[in-house]
């Protein structure tokens, strides 16, 4: 088995115009790293067949896995499939099941189907089809020039990421032999460099499994990846590392192999048979939106109030006007009154409240931009946790960090012995 070398070619004029960042290349590169496949070049080209061919010519000379993203959509400038197949001498045919799926999709939406949509069901003869359960354009893979593998994935990041994980990675893994298991240790409340400092000794000595730190918006995680003959063996190899990392980073690890902090919060609420409601000011509905993004949230999440205007803090959350006058809207007292108010108004077992200054401008007092107060109320015990912090000076980050911290407060409370 010789080591394979991959090259990613992103197709899309919007990338060259700077409308979007090439996150597909990042997502795919992470997956290739996990698979132990080297990637030496990323290339981006526009929706232009000649320049795509030029990129393919270059890639063909130095890689044996070529992965394209983008240009599989239904519009006239989506030319990746036609161009790549013509470059490698592959014919396209109408793949009936895909065409039926696309027609059904449009019928269900009661949306008119255009001739362009039929293009999306044209696929290379002899290739493998990656069904798209996240959008309309299927992806595909074929073998060319003897042993070059060519994979085509859709451009929209969500579709690309899902199809890469669910279809392309198994396809690539099969080329390699053996089994690979990848685990994720998720961390909230530590910056990436702080996390790395705490586990550096462990990361550096790691060979199999390997341990790699990643930063995400507002949180970070460690990926633990092991290779072995079987999946069971590979999993067993990851276990001691996962346990040690969890211990070293306690209490910041909110879960292993879980998708998100909100997922963990909903699971804990379900397990403890508790209902949650939220009272939001500066996060303006983000906490509720994060929780309700998950199916089944309604079983344990009741909803809440976005009391952006002080009037709503009074009318819908019963925050006493005195408290607002004396301490201001951004204060521990207001946060606590909001948390109590949302519990009382909704009958929830737990109420979490956030009030703060997201910026960019202050409120005319000394309170620095980025200041956030959070309070957690347990209907049986009253206020059980109250925190405050300055979470940076950029509106988007402050809101994201504040919503994460609110969720983490609920998580820690439910998780505490």
């Amino acid at each position: 088995m010789t080591a394979r070398v991959a090259e990613i070619i992103a197709v899309g004029t919007e990338l060259l115009l700077g409308n979007v960042a090439n996150t597909d290349a990042q997502d795919i590169s992470q997956g290739l790293s996990e698979l132990g496949i080297n990637c030496f070049y990323h290339t981006t080209v526009g929706d232009n067949p000649e320049r795509l061919k030029e990129a393919l010519r270059v890639a063909r000379s130095r890689a044996d896995i070529i992965i394209t993203t983008g240009g599989l959509g239904p519009t006239y400038d989506d030319l990746t499939k036609q161009t790549v197949c013509s470059f490698f001498g592959k014919e396209l045919y109408l793949h009936e099941p895909t065409w039926a799926r696309i027609r059904a999709y449009f019928e269900k939406l009661a949306s008119p189907l255009t001739e362009n949509n039929r293009q999306q069901a044209m696929l290379p003869v002899g290739g493998e089809i990656f069904e798209n359960n996240w959008g309309t354009a299927p992806g595909c893979a074929f073998t060319a020039d003897g042993d070059i593998r060519v994979l085509m994935l859709p451009g929209p990041p969500r579709e690309c990421r899902a199809m890469f994980r669910h279809c392309a990675m198994p396809y690539l893994r099969a080329l390699r032999g053996g089994a690979l298991v990848s685990r994720i240790v998720r961390v909230f409340g530590l910056g990436e460099s702080r996390m790395e400092t705490l586990v550096r000794g462990r990361i550096e000595k790691a060979q199999n499994p390997t341990i790699a730190p990643y930063a995400q918006e507002g949180e970070c995680f460690l990926r633990v990846t092991a290779y072995a003959e079987s999946e069971e063996e590979a999993f067993a190899l990851t276990e001691p590392a996962v346990a040690e990392l969890t211990r070293l980073l306690h209490p910041h690890v909110y879960g292993v192999d879980v998708p998100s902090l909100e997922f963990v919060v909903l699971s804990l609420l379900t397990r403890h048979k508790k209902k949650l409601a939220v009272a939001e000011s500066c996060t303006g509905g983000m906490i509720a939106a994060r929780l309700t993004a998950l199916p089944g949230a309604s079983a344990v999440f009741m909803g809440g109030v976005t009391a952006y205007d002080s009037l709503l803090k009074i009318n819908l959350l019963d925050v006493p006007r005195d408290i607002l006058d004396e301490y201001g809207a951004v204060s521990a007292q207001t946060a606590e009154a909001m948390a109590r108010g949302i519990c009382a108004r909704t009958g929830a077992d737990l109420g979490i409240a956030v009030t703060g200054l997201a910026g960019p401008t202050g409120d005319g007092t000394d309170t620095p931009v980025g200041t956030v107060y959070l309070a957690l109320c347990d209907s049986a015990r009253g206020i059980v946790d109250c925190q405050n912090a300055v979470l940076g000076d950029e509106r988007r980050r402050v809101r994201l960090a504040a919503s994460g911290r609110a969720l983490d407060m609920v998580r820690r409370w439910l998780d505490s012995p």
Copy 2:
């Protein structure tokens, strides 16, 4: 004036491992677009001199502006300057003012200076220096092979962006004459292929300005770009196209050269001196979160209620229990009662309500997953708009589409004559 063609080469193994996204290429591409400089390729290579040389060989054959990012730091793997200069046959010399600046910087930090830091003060003979006011590594530019311009910028996104804007853009602008203007026509409520079908004739005949369609999550837009001797002339060239596209796509165009639908809604509320509140069920806080993401939202957006649980529809929005019993939570009647309730409870001028089945599972009735009811209440007139639709079968998309449609209903009402 021959049009110049740029190519961006990002240098950094962290990009190939997927640790970070290549946002430098995006930032630079946006600036190049503004300058009217075409960019046909982005390439990413690791911290490897041979592969960087290979990328330079390819770029030299097809571009006359080559911009590298990354690899200017003080560590042993920061080899961009040495590699690029050796490739183009340029000598490096110690640039005394830069060396003094770096020494002063380290003295101030009371941080030890290493021999590697001296590398950062080595600059190409005859080149132009881009001082770094945002970090330590200066950037630079030189002319090679007669008329190829080679620019080197630091990798950290903040430094790269600032140096590109403040140093590289003026350098590049001086090379070019003429002006470019790029406009954006934003569309809600049409799919990309439907939009394209409506304007295809117009797109295909477009030369200057060019017209390009783009899909974004939940909406789409057209970019209209013109070149001319002056900015005024270029702008004038875009005007008829923008007007015609707006007419062809009416009433789906929600704005020209505006950042987002929520921005337009807040602007209209401000212009009409109206306050808005929201009552959300299936969107679970997303409408509020989208509006409050923008600074200054508090002037016209009061907040709202996320009534995920029916109990909250009753307790916080005064939806009559009879209506819930008779018509169900997902019904026009409930949506209308929620819209009236949020107006009454908050004193807002406008109340928008959304209730629906985001899925993935149904509610045990015949109502298909994806069904959404929306109602808009004007406190002076009562319910002024009520809509329903089936918005697909994927939870995330249903919620995104429903929140967009709610915002668009407010937009259309405020925009109507």
